[in-house]
């Protein structure tokens, strides 16, 4: 037990050290600033359901899309050593496809929602495999390959529905975007949990995690060992595509409205940041999905904290940047190794004094 505990701090925590420390600092900061920040209230919403509310709920609820995208992005990062910067645009396309199906029928029932979501998945997977093919087959830098869709994605989303902000209203959509009657936890949070479990199961029952890591660390070595690295890279993009479809559908369901220009705007940058804060190597290789998820919550907590402090939303980005620079620099290999050296030196000195004392 003790050794396990020691291990946890010695390096077992390793990758997760930075995001967890960041969350702790934010929590402590908020506790000092205003302890009521964390208060959670139980109340009735306008539909008459009992729901939880409060800043903490806002954080875990608001970060849902980011967390889901970060999970997919981690895989792409690990396998390809680059990031997909078109997730926001792709989510707008997937969301538009989702709305298109919902608007095609007069009555929205469970069937149309599922059909819409499936179509959104197919569309997102198609676009993602376009990105994936450019990266895996044609060996184009991921950021350049996905720049294409980043530029034109939102126009494509416009073509799907035409109108500026098509709206859909239905109790089912409302249930997906906010609360299922009788369950006080926001539905997007439940979806994040479901997706995380799904990833865990896939990693448990397949060798995807190992394959992805080996492709990311050394693609040609992986190929020599019989791993189809092209396929693994493509697969990572397709999985990201599914994540994008889920995130896009949640985004649409939250308000029952799609604005192709602003749906999940700039989320790609936050997603990449979440992966970076999660301690994953942006150059590919080893990865931890859990790190990225925590990274997503760190970003959201930071945003909500700044909002609670009434910081102007134009300034929020600047403050966010400052905090993130600090986090990323602390997490950089150079600083990490320096800290490790420092710790070992202190330990050595301690042992020396103990040894002297013994004599």
């Amino acid at each position: 037990m003790k050794s396990k505990f020691k291990n946890f701090f010695k390096g077992g925590l390793g990758q997760l050290a930075i995001p967890i420390i960041a969350i702790c600092i934010l929590v402590i900061f908020n506790l000092f600033r205003d302890p009521s920040f964390f208060s959670i209230a139980i109340q009735h919403n306008n539909d008459g359901n009992i729901v939880l509310s409060g800043n903490l709920i806002s954080i875990i609820n608001g970060a849902s899309e980011l967390a889901i995208l970060a999970m997919g992005m981690t895989l792409v990062t690990a396998a390809c050593g680059g990031q997909d910067i078109s997730v926001g645009a792709m989510a707008a396309i997937a969301g538009s496809a989702f709305v298109k199906v919902l608007k095609s029928t007069s009555v929205i029932n469970g069937g149309t929602v599922i059909a819409g979501f499936l179509l959104a998945c197919v569309v997102a997977m198609l676009f993602a495999s376009f990105n994936g093919t450019l990266v895996s087959v044609f060996k184009i830098q991921p950021m350049i390959a996905t720049l294409i869709l980043y530029t034109c994605g939102r126009s494509i989303a416009y073509w799907i529905n035409g109108g500026a902000t098509p709206t859909v209203s239905s109790p089912i959509i409302n249930a997906i975007g906010s609360f299922i009657p009788g369950i006080p936890i926001p539905t997007p949070v439940l979806i994040v949990i479901a997706v995380a479990i799904l990833f865990k199961l896939v990693f448990h029952f397949t060798s995807l995690e190992l394959f992805t890591q080996s492709v990311g660390i050394n693609g040609s070595a992986a190929r020599l060992n019989g791993i189809n690295s092209t396929f693994i890279k493509l697969l990572s993009f397709i999985i990201l595509g599914i994540c994008v479809a889920i995130a896009g559908s949640i985004g649409v369901s939250r308000l029952g409205l799609i604005n192709h220009e602003t749906l999940l705007l700039d989320i790609e940058m936050d997603t990449i940041l979440a992966v970076a804060i999660g301690g994953n190597n942006l150059g590919g290789g080893k990865f931890k999905i859990s790190g990225s998820i925590i990274g997503a919550y760190v970003i959201q907590m930071l945003t909500i904290t700044l909002y609670a402090m009434k910081v102007s939303s134009t300034d929020v980005k600047a403050y966010k940047a400052i905090v993130i620079i600090i986090l990323v620099v602390i997490g950089s290999p150079v600083i990490k190794s320096k800290i490790q050296k420092l710790i070992s030196r202190i330990k050595a000195r301690k042992q020396n004094t103990i040894a002297k004392g013994a004599v």
Partner: protein, 347 residues
């Protein structure tokens, strides 16, 4: 070796650009990608002769506009143009859409060479139009500006039909004052900072804050983003601050704000705790108004075509070159279904 390569590159570049220029001066027609001819252009050949000599009754109108995909406003604007300048009304409409000023200039030049009677322009940028408008004047083509002003001498155009953005904010704030609330605790959700719409919609309210007549609970920009607007209102609710008015600078952001109210169980709309105000008058937003969930929706009117048509046909005359398009504001208690059909944007 490097130098040689560079030299040949420069050579190739000059060649290509000279070719391009040659193509421009010879062809002079708008770039095919930007021009979309109206679907019902029945006359096949357009002879490039001075427009004033055309004897037919059909009035040829060339419209240079921003693409309908720009916004709901633009979509309605384009539809309005197509409806008013239709064949049934005795017009032949040619349109060119682009967000880029140089492409718009090219398209305008194309229309001049083709020989339209009237040129209608909503420019992407306010500068760079002198030359083209002078060409139009020489060719005897009358120019009307709509929606946006251009930085040129007044003599170069007949009239400009534009919106007064600050009037829009004034109308909304006057309406709010007429509600005679005991106190005004306003959540102000702004659009993208620096945009015309944001400046116009913020001005009047800001004046109230400065004068101390209304109390600003929070003033944040959500850059037209619905989800961001929801977050802003959520943070106010969580902080426990009291508020009774939400002033969102477009419909989407008002919807985001309302979603936050709904989740927190705060009643809003006609006769309720919180007044909800939006802008743009999307049809779905006006329906919310009709249902009493929102209180007010203001509009920057995208309908300038009828005014211009009246000016062209001499139904209406103007002494002032700048015509301010009338802005609408709807109250939830007085809005009718026909208002929604007539003035609502989108579907």
């Amino acid at each position: 070796m490097m130098k040689k390569k560079f030299g040949s590159l420069v050579l190739a570049a000059t060649l290509a650009s000279s070719l391009l220029f040659a193509a421009c001066t010879n062809g002079g027609s708008p770039a095919p990608a930007t021009s979309t001819p109206a679907p019902d252009t029945s006359e096949p050949a357009v002879v490039a002769e001075p427009a004033t000599t055309t004897t037919s009754d059909v009035i040829k109108v060339g419209v240079v506009n921003n693409p309908p995909s720009e916004s709901g406003y633009r979509e309605a604007n384009v539809k309005d143009m197509e409806a008013v300048f239709s064949a049934a009304n005795g017009y032949e409409l040619k349109t060119a859409y682009s967000l880029k000023n140089d492409e718009q200039l090219q398209a305008a030049q194309g229309f001049i060479t083709e020989g339209v009677d009237y040129l209608l322009i909503s420019a992407a940028e306010t500068t760079g139009w002198d030359e083209v408008l002078k060409q139009a004047q020489e060719a005897g083509i009358k120019v009307y500006l709509f929606d946006r002003m251009i930085d040129v001498d007044e003599s170069l155009y007949e009239a400009a039909v534009v919106s007064d953005m600050s009037a829009e904010g004034d109308t909304a704030v006057q309406w709010l004052l007429s509600q005679n609330l005991d106190e005004y605790n306003v959540i102000h959700i702004q659009g993208a900072m620096g945009s015309d719409a944001q400046i116009g919609r913020t001005g009047a309210l800001q004046a109230q804050f400065d004068a101390g007549k209304m109390n600003c609970v929070v003033q944040q920009t959500a850059t037209w983003d619905e989800a961001e607007a929801k977050k802003i209102v959520e943070s106010v609710i969580n902080s426990g601050d009291k508020f009774n008015v939400i002033y969102a600078e477009n419909d989407g952001m008002a919807k985001g704000a309302v979603a936050a109210l709904d989740e927190a169980g705060i009643k809003h709309g006609v006769g309720q705790d919180v007044i909800v105000m939006g802008f743009d008058c999307n049809k779905w937003a006006l329906r919310e108004l009709k249902a009493g969930n929102w209180n007010y929706d203001g509009q920057c009117s995208p309908f300038q075509a009828q005014i211009i048509s009246d000016l062209i046909k001499g139904v209406k005359t103007t002494s002032d070159k700048k015509i301010i398009n009338e802005e609408k504001g709807f109250d939830a208690t007085t809005i009718t279904d026909s208002d929604i059909d007539t003035y609502g944007l989108g579907e």
